[in-house]
Assembly symmetry: C2
Homo-oligomer: 470 residues x 2
């Protein structure tokens, strides 16, 4: 006799923690650092704040033969903070987020920090401790909370506020969880290094359980302009999304709906579009969700997705790293003989604009390897796992580097960054990108473009050497 | 100004459909067939019913330059059916399932068919049509429904019942969705072939849009014994799970709690365990969730996970394919010269028992390839994507086949099956397994064990040939 029941989304991600990247104590402590740091960077560089991020990991209980050690992981930032009435849900309710809008941010699922909190609750029972203050506030708020897994709700254990005596703003999060620091150390340090590589405007301090300090000073005050929120592009609209937009719209006519609710559609384009699908521009949009009008809804949805004369999705909302920062970062980290980066023109997939950036570092102190070292980034997040199934790896490993005058073993580092209002990750642990044709071709074009510059450099260098040898 | 909000779990998987495997129209039609077929097989061979599964895909709207074709995908089975009062939630509520118990089934997330329904709603707006009848019922029930994405609830468009005039029982599901049949065809046929390979007791009929029929007749009535439901094993218990067990238990003492709520713990073991962690056997379990007793809860949770003298998790609940069926299947499909399979002893990870089975087919009509052809299975589901990051691939590709007398190119097929009460997939699309140390070592042991048998066979064959040549 089958037992039918529902499960809360918190229970789902607690039970299936490997889906969120918490597959073992090594990955768990790594993922915890990631989720906290990515939230801190979203709260700073997406809001024109020069980031100051402090990360500390302390051992609070030694490992035994039977179970892993326990660590306190604390991350502090000088970001925009969390409003006091939002702290409990932001940290205590799975699928609660301020990033459910069309904007290029690292976070997108409303799950990250909650997955880390669930893991710490399951392994140590300890509540999370949050301190936060927004810039305009006179107070610093603190909350100690647990997640009620069955109800998917925060349970406040302790809370309070203090009067601010400085102009501090930002957030500090403390978590206590089981982890395998010894195995995770290399990966965590690599993650922070790669973060600093593309964010030389950020100051990052990392204190390890052995009291080592990894310090990444700010080397420039120049920051890429922050991303901004976009209205949807018609090519990304499916029937369900159109239903939702129509039920919420305050517009009174289809013409107004097209112009107000979508990006870059002027009255003329709107009229031409509506005419092309036989829709009266004066019709009330709510007609589309009237009973019996599902055919009408389909006609509009299909028209939006397929009409050829809409402007392409705007890319000025995006925030690429920029060629200069990528080159500076690669030079600093690898002491290479030659470095070049490119920021491509925006393209789009399913109505989402994306920009591919690529960088190559060659020679100098780079240790030659059988295949290029690949540094993958998506929305400025370094991706360190799941390389072999990532679209960037497929592109870079399918390139015949001999055609570019590069012999094996090659002293070659390739950086690929995909920035988009929606990154199509394969999993909520954000480690690799799914197969999207438009992304694959654009990554290929970007890497080949710089590879051609490298080929020129190498052939010039070879002919100069041949000349000297004569 | 950040906009904080929550999102329903249906909205989450609609918006992020690539997480569930619906990353493009090719993967979408493939995943839809999978989700329906896996539900049908769960409803039959997990309940001692010899499966009869009919799959049909029909083109209902041709592709245009701008959008993919639309297909009706229908899957019918002779399984246990869905009770009429459960149909709406089973098909219309994300995270609703009869498989949230400790038992080896293909399904585990309560999401599969709903992800397919969400995708069809988004691409065609069409409701899903379900027909179902349980064996004991006199009626056949039908429901046409949509998922209310915002509320994560079913919306019944039409429903009814008919008096049964035969002894039919089972379920039939009709979905209409956009898909790329042309690109997906090879993979879908491969998936069904590999399903039939290990289920020769199933009759499977597949009708394609071109009216081709792929027929896999039943060749044996012998079925592996179905899996059964287990109580939890103490080694798999985290603090949150213990909290939940304690809040639901009807037992009145800790001694009773240990014996009743866990598998294979007798009174003597329970007493010894409780004594070892300093807990009074007569204490009421509810004390563990009293305010201020979190230390006590931690002591018990840690003790459960680390106590050495519990029996290992029972494996008789599991349902391996069996050496005979694997060998028969490999022989049939590959016409190999040599075939051998092994079903290993059960092991466990995090309190979950698992059995690894491996099979090798060598020579005969197998086309030699650079590396072995790898057929991966988990809980009897064929896994066709994400091979490079799967733990089985890492094991098989790290084996030096020359040490087993196998030269490149090799006419070699390796089958790996992991059966468990919980398969640690990397994603809800169920394509590859995450890094679990116990799984990796056991898969390695299994494959190497059969490889040694193969080495004996090959060296015997080589020496016989050398003898003949003399
Ligand atoms: N350090 C921080 N500073 C400011 N706001 C924060 C910080 N950390 C979390 N938040 C807020 O809490 C919300 C939830 O964070 P969470 O990591 O769970 O989800 P997310 O970042 O929105 O998406 P993702 O699951 O992809 O990480 C964020 O959307 C943000 O509004
Ligand atoms: N063909 C079927 N016969 C009988 N019951 C079915 C059938 N299809 C679905 N169900 C019921 O509907 C429930 C929901 O199915 P769904 O595929 O969404 O989740 P699941 O199979 O439990 O888990 P997963 O998400 O891993 O597939 C199942 O648990 C099962 O009880
Ligand atoms: Mg986050
Ligand atoms: Mg299912």
């Amino acid at each position: 006799q089958e037992k039918y029941r529902e499960m809360s989304i918190a229970e789902f991600f607690a039970k299936n923690k490997e889906l969120a990247g918490f597959s073992n104590p090594t990955r768990a402590i790594y993922q915890t650092v990631r989720e906290l740091v990515e939230n801190s960077l979203d709260a700073t560089d997406s809001h024109n704040v020069l980031p100051e991020v402090k990360i500390s990991i302390k051992e609070v209980e030694a490992a035994t033969d039977d179970k892993p050690a326990k660590y306190e992981v604390a991350v502090e930032d000088n970001g925009i903070g969390v409003p006091p009435n939002e702290i409990a849900n932001a940290f205590g309710k799975v699928l609660y987020s301020s990033k459910y809008v069309i904007r290029q941010t690292r976070g997108m699922y409303g799950l990250g920090v909650k997955a880390a909190i669930l893991y710490s609750q399951m392994t140590t029972g300890q509540p999370v401790f949050i301190v936060s203050s927004t810039d305009s506030s006179d107070n610093i708020y603190y909350k100690k909370l647990l997640i009620d897994i069955k109800k998917n709700e925060p349970v406040i254990i302790e809370e309070g506020q203090l009067l601010k005596r400085s102009n501090w703003h930002g957030t500090k999060v403390y978590l206590t969880l089981e982890g395998d620091w010894v195995r995770a150390k290399q990966k965590i340090i690599e993650y922070i290094k790669r973060t600093a590589l593309i964010a030389p405007y950020a100051e990052i301090i990392f204190e390890t359980p052995e009291n080592e300090i990894y310090y990444f000073p700010r080397v420039t005050k120049k920051m890429p302009k922050p991303p901004s929120e976009a209205k949807p592009h018609p090519h990304g609209i499916d029937i369900e999304q159109l239903k939702a937009m129509v039920s919420f719209t305050k517009t009174k006519t289809m013409l107004e709906f097209m112009v107000e609710e979508f990006q870059s559609i002027g009255e003329i384009t709107a009229r031409k579009f509506l005419e092309s699908i036989g829709i009266d521009p004066n019709m009330n949009p709510k007609m589309l969700i009237e009973k019996g009008n599902s055919k009408l809804l389909q006609v509009v949805a299909t028209g939006l997705r397929t009409y050829k004369n809409f402007r392409p999705p705007r890319s000025d909302y995006l925030s690429p790293i920029g060629e200069e920062l990528i080159e500076v970062g690669l030079k600093r980290l690898f002491n290479a003989e030659w470095v070049k980066a490119i920021t491509r023109q925006a393209r789009a997939y399913e109505g989402h604009p994306f920009i591919v950036e690529a960088g190559i570092a060659y020679g100098g102190n780079i240790i030659p390897t059988e295949e290029p070292v690949l540094l993958r980034y998506a929305n400025k997040i370094p991706l360190l796992y799941e390389e072999r199934e990532d679209v960037s790896y497929k592109v870079v490993s399918s390139i015949n580097w001999k055609l570019y005058n590069i012999e094996e073993p090659m002293p070659l580092v390739v950086l690929v960054h995909v920035a988009s209002t929606k990154v199509p990750y394969k999993g909520v642990g954000k480690e690799s990108l799914s197969e999207v044709q438009e992304l694959e071709s654009e990554i290929k074009n970007a890497v080949q473009e710089i590879a051609r510059s490298l080929r020129l450099y190498i052939s010039k260098k070879n002919s100069e050497r041949t000349l000297r040898e004569k």
